[in-house]
Symmetry: C2
Subunit: 168 residues, 2 copies
């Protein structure tokens, strides 16, 4: 099981990026997104509405206490992988199979996150994007290209040119 | 050579996401980002300032005429790869070595883009993020983990916990 924890969400500034984090988590095979920072019902609503419409049983939640959340997950046997441009090379990340919480930073990441993480890992040591880092890490952990999304209302039929969306 | 073309930038709404597109392009080994849509000097400035500070010779530019830009690149022998959730599977994308323009959509992508592209390719047929799609495609085309960024002012020294940034 893979859970993505997004830290430090700000309603006013991060709506779109946090939505992208959630949808990327879903599309590339994570099971759940948990947001921390400011509580934001419309963010949860928009991620959940995509999950309902497009299928696949992904869930979105909020925690006001990320520290307790990480502690509990550790007790449950999850490893904690924190994505940071300051971290160790991606090759340190072992491949598939383990229950993992992937921690994705926000504006300012508290020092405790680095301490609580089993692995602080970087997708290159350059400044870029939490969405990009999350994508590459999920790509290493999940065979997302084989993933199916049962139970949605609509789906895409891939085509050479243009768009084809069909009802299920 | 790999160029990323970002379509339909809107100054008011897309500043952060377009910045993430540019920085992701740079960090994962593209050579240039070209923005289209609304002209935005502060966007170019912020991407260029990261490139100067962190090294590696990445460039950022703006075109008011993406159609002419794509035509010229085609004439120069570039293949045009358009990222879209409606496109064909990623396995259709041939691997390394070719000069490529990767087209990343904005709010509304004109139908002509689908026609001009040599390949309309999807990173999963689910709604997610142009930053995520770009990351995965660059990961398939570029050996970014081996990329160096010479000439910058600062760099990260990877570490197990915390942050270490050094001057060059």
């Amino acid at each position: 099981m893979i859970i993505v924890l997004r830290l430090g969400h700000r309603r006013s500034r991060d709506q779109r990026l946090s939505t992208h984090v959630g949808l990327t988590a879903r599309a590339l095979g994570a099971d759940e997104i948990v947001y921390s920072g400011e509580s934001d019902k419309s963010l949860l609503k928009s991620v959940r509405s995509v999950a309902e419409q497009w299928g696949g049983g992904f869930s979105a939640a909020y925690t006001s206490d990320w520290k307790r959340f990480l502690k509990e997950k550790k007790e449950d046997g999850f490893r904690i992988v924190h994505l940071t441009m300051y971290g160790e090379p991606l090759t340190k990340l072992e491949e598939k199979g383990e229950d993992t919480v992937i921690v994705v930073g926000g504006a300012k990441v508290p020092g405790e996150v680095y301490e609580m993480a089993d692995l602080n890992v970087s997708v290159g040591n350059q400044p870029h994007s939490e969405v990009a880092a999350l994508s590459i890490v999920l790509d290493r952990l999940v065979n997302w290209e084989a993933k199916e999304f049962p139970g949605g209302e609509i789906k895409v039929e891939p085509c050479e040119k243009g768009k084809r969306v069909v009802k299920r």
